[in-house]
Subunit: 273 residues, 2 copies
């Protein structure tokens, strides 16, 4: 794995960096194709919004793109861009003139060929709490680490519920369900992180003749749904099922119209650059 | 400031360290006296409990103490001990055999001589969320960073409320109020971090003839209280007041019995080693 810190090859960061001290920073995990991050505008826009919410200066977009390109390989891969508030004196108080740290990590091949056609999804007991900075993909990710630790051997993902028991997201992806021919996804006003693929789907599904909207999804409602889907930069748009959920139930029979439509959308999404 | 990483002088940590990537670790901020951390048993016990909850191996206590001593100065000072899950491959999944990173930072003099006799406390709008690992002093500290950013120029601390509007803690200390001769403090089952001084006070106040117990504290109740106090390793036990809160009201007249008692407890606490 190649790592650049502020553009310099090398894998070391100051121990006093606020990213390490407090998780005071943001990140993006991007799918790289031909040296370019896919759906970059959405990644960049979320990164900038997160930095603005935290009051961290935005780095040069050109530098980020150039460094992502530098760490990318010939094969499709995943890369990660981190921006922290940089080093600071002791204590929570932010420096008046922060010097952000930019970390670019690349070269992890897209490791999903072994995944089954329908991803197996469990339910985590770690709850998704309200984010202190909604919509910001910040570095405080213990919730995800703890939820990820709960995966059983045969899980490909784990659903996460909020304190009220509503499904909000999965450990590292967003959740959609198909119900009466309509695609539904939890609102993420305060919980989870609205993904780039989720945003793209909300904006473009109508053009494929599919209605998508935000809804309150209890676990029983997800279980009763005709089909479950997960989205992320790594997965794209993938079919999923909970244990015991019959993948051939409802409208999920081969040739059923909404499923064909969603398959087409997924293929289109994965071909984007 | 002297920094040791795994016992070695130097201030660099791998960019791939999970402390930086996810805030996957714990910390303690300790008051140093004559090369020893004050109330060490309480700090060490909280650190170990946090590591256990996260499934991170516990470092050698002897190494931690030796390194804290090495970074300490002749004058009373604050030091910080961080233990992360160490480096890992990409993604939330924890390594099967983590090699924790130990960071010891020292030498910050105890900087409270300029503080006023009664600390001025504001109210932050950043809410204290339920912790994914209650009682664990983990590295996901954005909430505190955001609350700290809200301090006005004349604040010495800021109260933090939970989602239901109950006072839970302050940005970097625990909260107590004096009400009808009794000391009350918010329960911290899921919010905030139960401090070492808070724990000591709960265990020892009775010996000084003072009743202390956990209670649900709304902001109006805190405002109506006879006196407000803050505790932390840095502050010890300190009197505080909200804007407009009359420091001479209620039982707070000089010579009043509970206040004298609390002053005595504070002096005793600060003389501990």
């Amino acid at each position: 794995m190649t790592i650049l810190v502020n553009g310099e090859p090398g894998a070391a960061v100051e121990a006093g960096d606020r990213g390490l001290q407090f998780g005071d920073g943001v990140f993006e995990t991007v799918r790289m194709r031909a040296g370019r991050p896919v759906l970059w505008k959405r990644h960049w826009s979320r990164l900038c919004r997160g930095l603005e919410l935290l009051g961290i200066p935005t780095p040069s977009e050109r530098a980020c793109l150039e460094e992502l390109s530098r760490v990318s390989t010939d094969v499709p891969s995943m890369a990660k861009l981190i921006v922290t508030r940089g080093p600071g004196p002791r204590g929570y108080a932010v420096p008046a003139h922060p010097l952000p740290t930019r970390i670019v990590m690349g070269g992890a091949p897209l490791d999903i060929p072994d995944a089954p056609a329908i991803l197996r999804v469990g339910v985590c007991s770690t709850r998704a709490a309200r984010s202190p900075v909604p919509g910001c993909k910040h570095l405080n990710r213990l919730e995800n680490v703890l939820a990820r630790r709960e995966w059983s051997g045969d899980w490909d993902e784990g659903l996460m519920l909020d304190a009220a028991g509503r499904v909000r997201c999965a450990t590292q992806s967003n959740v959609f369900v198909l119900e009466q021919g309509m695609l539904l996804t939890p609102a993420l006003n305060a919980h989870g992180v609205p993904g780039t693929r989720r945003g793209w789907l909300l904006d473009h599904a109508a053009a494929f003749g599919l209605t998508v909207r935000e809804a309150s999804l209890t676990l029983p409602r997800v279980r009763r749904a005709d089909a479950v889907f997960l989205t992320s930069a790594r997965l794209g748009l993938r079919r999923a099922a909970l244990p015991g959920q019959d993948p051939a139930s409802g409208c999920s029979a081969p040739g059923s119209e909404p499923l064909d439509c969603i398959r087409e959308i997924g293929e289109h999404m994965n071909a984007l650059d």
